[in-house]
């Protein structure tokens, strides 16, 4: 019998920590190898952690809601498996106690005193890099003074300078903002009696961070066009049942929109680009991020190389992504590499929206509800299926003119959809 320890796994390349959203086992439970023992939330994804051992849970070393760095011990399991002789039992217990010792409350780590903030600003110290010696991890004035005296502050500064020069003004702008705005704890919003406090999940936190970053850094401009999609509606109604029968998957309007947008992106690659501070990068790949709403979060899985897919291919990709979101199966890789975002706001009845750009892309487009409206066609009033397309652009990268051309092209393609010139395969 020996006690083995389960560590917080690395759930993606840039993931450094995970929050235990739920324990699926309790102390004393017997588990088999690969049984799920906990649900973990990271910035990017929710996942179940499988047990690495078979045995009995002897201790859960973190509470639900605790955020642990990757590699930190989560729980220990008593197992009858053989193990290397080097891992003697006394070592295990001493490791356990020392980890318990260092597993201290870090709640004061970001509570900076006026003296600490002033010293950090005057000496260009990134407080994130310091370890606090004060109570609950607080960084004390002495910690900063020692750090400055040790000369590390200067090193920190010089090492950050070249990278700023490389990435240019965007990076230095965000750095400038970070430096100019003293890091302070957010003003405490008090909850009143009867209010419900909802703890932030990793996903919620990531959404908040990305939204703020995008709104802070990107000068958003917004425009909207209306498109007559009567032909599309007719065409899709005509083939949807056959398609479902034949392909076993539903055919919605969305793949048609994606197809038209992707085609227009190929013609106006500037829309499919990103701001890089000293230049603009036009992306070769057309990877469409698709905003998909889950119960209380928003995910943007990516359809890779959307320009290489037929309408059928897009339909399958969309349905697969939606299923992954619903079933909580998204992997971090599913959400990386997008170059342009499509937001299907029409699915919940919206007719107009001002989407926030999915940083660091240059534009995001919302497809609103298709509604029947009286419109003037050839000086006659007709009932047509109309849809609004709303686009937010990074005005550093794009101007009204190219955006207008792009939207006009999307509109043209959508209005000209027909069985003859719009193959499904």
């Amino acid at each position: 019998m020996s006690v083995r320890q389960m560590e917080m796994p690395q759930l993606g390349e840039s993931v450094t920590e995970g929050t235990i959203s739920q324990w699926l086992v309790s102390v004393g439970d017997k588990v088999s190898k690969y049984d799920p023992i906990a649900e973990i939330t990271t910035d990017k994804v929710n996942a179940e952690v499988p047990s690495s051992f078979s045995g009995k849970i002897t201790a859960l070393l973190a509470e639900e809601g605790d955020t642990l760095p990757v590699g930190k011990v989560m729980c220990s399991i008593e197992t009858s498996e053989g193990e290397p002789a080097a891992e003697a039992v006394p070592d295990q217990t001493s490791a356990a106690t020392s980890s318990a010792d260092t597993d201290q409350d870090q709640s004061m780590k970001k509570r900076y005193s006026p003296a600490v903030l002033r010293l950090a600003q005057e000496n260009d110290v990134d407080l994130e890099q310091l370890t606090g010696s004060g109570r609950s991890g607080r960084i004390t004035r002495k910690d900063v003074e020692h750090f400055i005296a040790s000369g590390k502050a200067a090193q920190q500064h010089s090492s950050s300078a070249p990278s700023a020069a490389h990435t240019g003004s965007a990076a230095s702008f965000s750095e400038a903002v970070a430096q100019a705005v003293p890091k302070r704890s957010e003003p405490a919003v008090q909850s009143e009696a009867g209010d419900i406090d909802i703890p932030l999940t990793g996903v919620r936190r990531a959404i908040a961070r990305n939204m703020v970053r995008s709104k802070h850094e990107i000068p958003h401009a917004w425009t909207m066009i209306e498109v007559d999609v009567t032909n599309l509606v007719n065409y899709r109604n005509q083939i949807k049942n056959i398609f479902h029968k034949k392909e076993g998957t539903k055919l919605t309007y969305l793949p048609f929109f994606i197809k038209a947008i992707v085609a227009a992106l190929k013609e106006f690659p500037r829309i499919n680009s990103t701001w890089a501070g000293d230049r603009i990068i036009e992306k070769k790949a057309v990877n469409i991020s698709l905003a998909v709403a889950a119960e209380d979060a928003l995910y943007v899985p990516v359809i890779r190389h959307a320009d290489e897919k037929s309408i059928k291919g897009l339909a399958i990709a969309v349905n697969e992504m939606a299923a992954k979101v619903r079933e909580n199966r998204l992997s971090p890789d599913d959400m990386q590499g997008g170059t342009f975002t499509i937001n299907n706001t029409g699915s919940f009845g919206s007719i107009e929206s001002q989407p926030i750009i999915n940083y660091p892309q240059a534009a995001i487009l919302s497809i609103e509800s298709i509604v029947k409206r009286p419109v003037v066609v050839n000086d006659m009033i007709a009932i047509r299926d109309m849809v609004n397309l709303c686009i937010s652009i990074d005005h550093r990268v794009l101007d009204g003119l190219v955006t207008g051309h792009f939207l006009a092209r999307v509109k043209e393609r959508l209005e000209n959809i027909s069985p003859e010139n719009t193959p499904i395969y």
């Binding site: 005193s113 006026p114 003296a115 600490v116 903030l117 002033r118 004060g134 109570r135 607080r138 004390t140 004035r141 002495k142």
Partner: protein, 327 residues
Amino acid sequence: MAVISYIEAVTQALKEEMERDEDVFVLGEDVGKRGGVFQATKGLYEEFGEKRVIDTPLAESAIVGVGIGAAMYGLRPVAEMQFSDFMLPAANQIISEAAKTRYRSNNDWSAPITIRAPYGGGVHGGLYHSQSMEAIFANVPGLKIVMPSTPYDVKGLLKSSIRSNDPVIFYEHKRAYRLIKGEVPDQEYTLPIGKADIKREGTDVTVITYGLAVHFALKAAEKLAADGISTHILDLRTVYPLDKEAVIDAARKTGKVLLVTEDTKEGSVISEVAATIAENCLFDLDAPVRRLAAPDAPSMPYAAPLEKQFLITPEKVEQAIRDLAEF
């Protein structure tokens, strides 16, 4: 350098000033033949006679009032309040007359009187013999309030008080009288009123205090040094008006400030010290300014265990410093 007690420093200062200047005289209850209830004026009656060492009735208002009158006519009275607890009958004389004489007379008159008063607890003195009275007089411009902690400071500051051309209240901690001993130079010296004194240099926590509590802080600092906690100690010495510059410098030194008084907490002398720090040191502070004081209860209890609970002690000071150091 001779080692003498706190009370011997009082006696020596009085004796030397009376020898130096024949305008100096003492008056108070039992200060003459009896030599004072604490023996602070011991031997003065024999040396200087009944005209310069005057036994008075139990009438504090008269003791101070007579002193003010004599002072205005050019003498240098040293009035003794037998216990600071009994100063209040003289409060009108002190606050409304002594403090304001120079101002009211447009600088024609002054009241160079020294009012000595034993204060403080820990002597099993109960309600009427344990109080700290400094806060009552510490917002009366025109007064100076001196509260020394060591024999050296007592002697040097009492001499300066007697030589001061304006009224000085000179509080002596009665428990320190025979508890505290220290070196005093053989030659003549005085110390400036209004100047605080660094009693110990340190880098982790600043303690600002006065009177007997200075010794508590020194004792605590000694113990804490063994644990690697370095304590900076500022002795206010004059609690009114404050040596603001020294307070600010001491607070800036470490950014973590503990203020200690034996008085009850609210509205005490250290509250003003805290305000001075808050006004001047925001960007140097690394922790909230902490006050260690007696509870806001009407009186120091008579029962020994309760008295101990009420009083600040070296252990309480040590705990408070440690707490700040770890913050």
